[in-house]
C-alpha cells in the first residue's frame, strides 16, 4: 500500500495542488488560506458548471439515441455549442414574477436551492489531495445541506401564489421527505463499518486490496451492494429525476412548483437539479465505490481525480440511462415504494451490516459462512418485500386492434 502510494505521487497527482500553490505562493501568509479557499471554490464552480453544461447536452444526445434519433446536432459541430445556445436563450428571457407573488421569497427560493446544492460539493474528496473542506462529520454535513432543498421547494411553491404551484410543492415535499429516510438509512452501514463520518476516512477504509487485486470497495460486499442500490434509488427521487420526477412531470403538470418561474430563476432550479444529482453521485462514489481509488492496483499510475471523475460520470450516465428507460410513477406508488420497500430493506440492511461487522475476524470456512449469511440476509428480504410490493399486480395485457 505504501509503495503504491509512493509511486502514485506522480507529478500529475500533485498537479492541481502545485498549480494552486504557484498562484498563491507570493501572497502573504494570512491571505494564502483565503486565496486557497477562493481558488477551490472557483475551481468547483467552473468544473461543475462545465459538467452541468456537458451533462445537459449528453442527456439530450443519449435520450435521442435511445429513441432512435440523433439528438441536437445543429448548433456547432455535433451540436456541441447547444448548451451555450440554451444558456443564452434562458438568460435573455424575461423574468416574470406574478403580481400577487411574495416577491422576496419568490426570489429567495431558487437562490437557496442553488446555494445549498453547491454547498454540498464542499466535503466530497475529489482526489488524493483534493478535498475542499475536511470535516469530522462531513457525511452528516452533506445530507443536512441537502435537507434545505425541501425548504426551497416549499418557498417556491408557496410564494408563487398559484394553487398548482403550491399543490405540486406539497407533492414534492411528500416525495422528498419520504425518500430522505431511505437515503439516510442507506449510508448508515458505511459509517458503521468504517467507523467515521468523515469522507476522507470512509475513502481510506476502502483503500486495501483483497487477494492483491480486488478492491475492498463497499459496493463489493452484500450489505454495500444493497445500500448502494437503495442509495441510488433514493438519490433519483431526491434529485427529482425520472422515474421519480413527479414534482415537475413535464407531460402531466405544467412544471409543478416551477410554474411561475422563468428566465434566470428557472435556470437556477435547473442547475440545482443537476448539481444535486452530481453531488449525490459524488457522494455515492465516495461512500460505496471507493472514492478516488483505482479499480486495480496496476492502474494506480492514473491520477486519483481522473478515477473519481470516471466513476462520477459513469453514475451520471446511469441516471440518464434510467431516465431513458422507465416510465414515471404515480404519487401513491412512489410513497408506497419508499415506505413499504426501501425503508424496511434499509433497516434490514443495518442488521446485515451489524452481522458483517461482528463477524469481522472469521476466517476459513467461517468466512464462507459469513458471506453466505450476509447474502441471504440481503436477498431474502428483497425477494419477500418485492413479492409483497407487487402482489396483486400482474403484467398488464394490451389488446391491439386487429
Amino acid at each position: 500500500m505504501n509503495a503504491a502510494q509512493d509511486t502514485g505521487e506522480t507529478l500529475l497527482e500533485r498537479a492541481p495542488q502545485a498549480l494552486r500553490d504557484l498562484l498563491t505562493s507570493h501572497l502573504p501568509e494570512p491571505w494564502r488560506w483565503f486565496a486557497n479557499s477562493l481558488i477551490a471554490i472557483v475551481a468547483i464552480l467552473a468544473v461543475f458548471g462545465l459538467l452541468f453544461a456537458a451533462l445537459t447536452l449528453a442527456e439530450r444526445k443519449i435520450l435521442g439515441r435511445v429513441q432512435n434519433r440523433p439528438g441536437p446536432n445543429r448548433t456547432g459541430p455535433f451540436g456541441l455549442l447547444q448548451p451555450i445556445a440554451d444558456g443564452i436563450k434562458m438568460l435573455s428571457k424575461e423574468d416574470i414574477v406574478p403580481r400577487d407573488a411574495d416577491h422576496l421569497l419568490h426570489f429567495l427560493a431558487p437562490v437557496t436551492l442553488l446555494a445549498s446544492s453547491i454547498l454540498a460539493f464542499a466535503v466530497i474528496p475529489y482526489g488524493r489531495h483534493l478535498i475542499p473542506v475536511e470535516l469530522d462529520a462531513a457525511v452528516l454535513y452533506f445530507f443536512c445541506v441537502g435537507a434545505t432543498t425541501e425548504l426551497a421547494v416549499f418557498m417556491a411553491g408557496w410564494s408563487s401564489h398559484n394553487k398548482y404551484s403550491l399543490l405540486a410543492a406539497m407533492r414534492a415535499l411528500a416525495q422528498l421527505i419520504s425518500y430522505e429516510l431511505p437515503l439516510l438509512l442507506s449510508w448508515l452501514p458505511v459509517v458503521m463499518i468504517s467507523g467515521t463520518l468523515s469522507t476522507t476516512g470512509i475513502v481510506a477504509a476502502q483503500s486495501a486490496w483483497r487477494w492483491g487485486w480486488m478492491p475492498t470497495w463497499h459496493v463489493f460486499t452484500p450489505w454495500g451492494l444493497a445500500g448502494f442500490v437503495i442509495f441510488m434509488v433514493a438519490a433519483l427521487a431526491e434529485s427529482n429525476r425520472s422515474p421519480f420526477d413527479l414534482p415537475e412531470a413535464e407531460s402531466e403538470l405544467i412544471a409543478g412548483h416551477l410554474t411561475e418561474y422563468s428566465g434566470c430563476k428557472y435556470v437556477f432550479f435547473f442547475m440545482a437539479e443537476y448539481f444535486g444529482m452530481t453531488a449525490l453521485s459524488g457522494m455515492a462514489v465516495t461512500l460505496f465505490l471507493g472514492g478516488w481509488h483505482a479499480p486495480l492496483p496496476s492502474l494506480e499510475f492514473i491520477p486519483s481525480y481522473v478515477w473519481f471523475g470516471a466513476k462520477l460520470i459513469t453514475l451520471l450516465m446511469g441516471f440518464i440511462w434510467i431516465r431513458a428507460t422507465f416510465p414515471r410513477l404515480r404519487i401513491d406508488q412512489l410513497t408506497r415504494f419508499a415506505w413499504k420497500f426501501l425503508v424496511p430493506l434499509a433497516l434490514v440492511n443495518l442488521g446485515t451490516t451489524a452481522f458483517w461487522s461482528l463477524s469481522f475476524g472469521w476466517t476459513g470456512p467461517l468466512l464462507a459462512a459469513r458471506c453466505t449469511v450476509a447474502v441471504i440476509l440481503v436477498v431474502v428480504p428483497f425477494v419477500l418485500l418485492g413479492r409483497r410490493l407487487s402482489s396483486g399486480l400482474t403484467p398488464r395485457t394490451y389488446s391491439y386492434a386487429p
Binding site: R65, R69, P70, W321, T325, L389, S390, P395
Partner: protein, 209 residues
C-alpha cells in the same frame, strides 16, 4: 422477482443506444435539408400539367381546356380560360388549348379529383413538397407556365403509372390512327366508289353511253 422487468427495460434501451451507431434501423431520422427521404411512388402533393416534350411545354400540353377539372375541383382552386384558336395536339389533331390555366396553391387540398376526372391524362399529382413562398398572394397562384412539366418528369417521379398512361395513350393513338386510316380508307373507298367504278366503269358508261 422484482427488478427483472426493470433490467429487461434497461437492456432494450441499451440495445437502442448501441444500435443507433451502426444499425440504420435504429437511427431512422433523415436529416431533412441535407438529405431527403425517398418518396414512395404513390406520394401525391399538388397537381401539374403534363406536356409532351420539354422544349416546347406550352405547345405540347395534353390539356384541351375541357374544364372538367375546374368544375369538379371541390375547393374550386382551378381557373381555366379556353383559347380562341386551335393547335395541333400530340397526335396532330387540332385542339383547343388552355389560354389560362391557374391553380391557387393556397386553396388546393391535394385531393387528386382533378386527376381522376381528366379524360386526357393531362393533369397528374406531383411529388413536390417544398412549396412554401415568402409572399402571400402572387407566388401562390401558379399559372400554366409554372404548372407545365414534361412527360419525362412524370416518368421520373412515377415510372409505373407513366408507363401505363403512355402505353394506353399510344394504344389509343394507334387505334385512333388506325381508325383514322380506316376511316380515311373508307372515306377514300367512299370517295373512290364513285371514282372506283370510274376506272372500272369507263368501259361501262361507254357501254351505257
Amino acid at each position: 422477482m422484482l427488478g427483472t422487468g426493470l433490467l429487461q427495460g434497461l437492456a432494450v434501451t441499451a440495445k437502442n443506444f448501441a444500435g443507433s451507431f451502426h444499425d440504420p434501423k435504429r437511427l431512422t431520422t433523415v436529416e431533412y435539408p441535407e438529405k431527403k427521404s425517398v418518396i414512395p411512388e404513390a406520394f401525391r402533393n399538388f397537381p401539374f400539367l403534363v406536356s409532351e416534350n420539354a422544349e416546347d411545354p406550352m405547345g405540347t400540353l395534353r390539356c384541351v381546356a375541357c374544364q372538367i377539372c375546374e368544375k369538379e375541383c371541390p375547393p374550386q382552386c382551378i381557373y381555366i380560360e379556353k383559347s380562341k384558336d386551335k393547335k395541333p395536339d400530340a397526335s396532330g389533331k387540332m385542339q383547343i388549348y388552355p389560354a389560362v390555366f391557374r391553380i391557387d396553391s393556397s386553396v388546393c387540398m391535394n385531393c387528386q379529383i382533378c386527376v381522376e376526372v381528366c379524360p386526357f391524362d393531362a393533369i397528374k399529382m406531383d411529388h413536390v413538397y417544398e412549396i412554401a413562398t415568402s409572399e402571400r398572394f402572387e407566388t401562390l397562384l401558379l399559372d400554366r407556365h409554372d404548372l407545365a412539366k414534361p412527360n419525362s418528369y412524370f416518368h421520373q417521379i412515377r415510372p409505373l403509372e407513366a408507363a401505363e398512361v403512355d402505353g394506353r395513350l399510344t394504344a389509343e393513338r394507334k387505334a385512333a390512327e388506325e381508325k383514322a386510316k380506316a376511316a380515311a380508307l373508307a372515306k377514300a373507298a367512299l370517295a373512290a366508289k364513285p371514282a372506283a367504278p370510274a376506272p372500272a366503269a369507263p368501259p361501262k358508261p361507254p357501254e351505257q353511253a
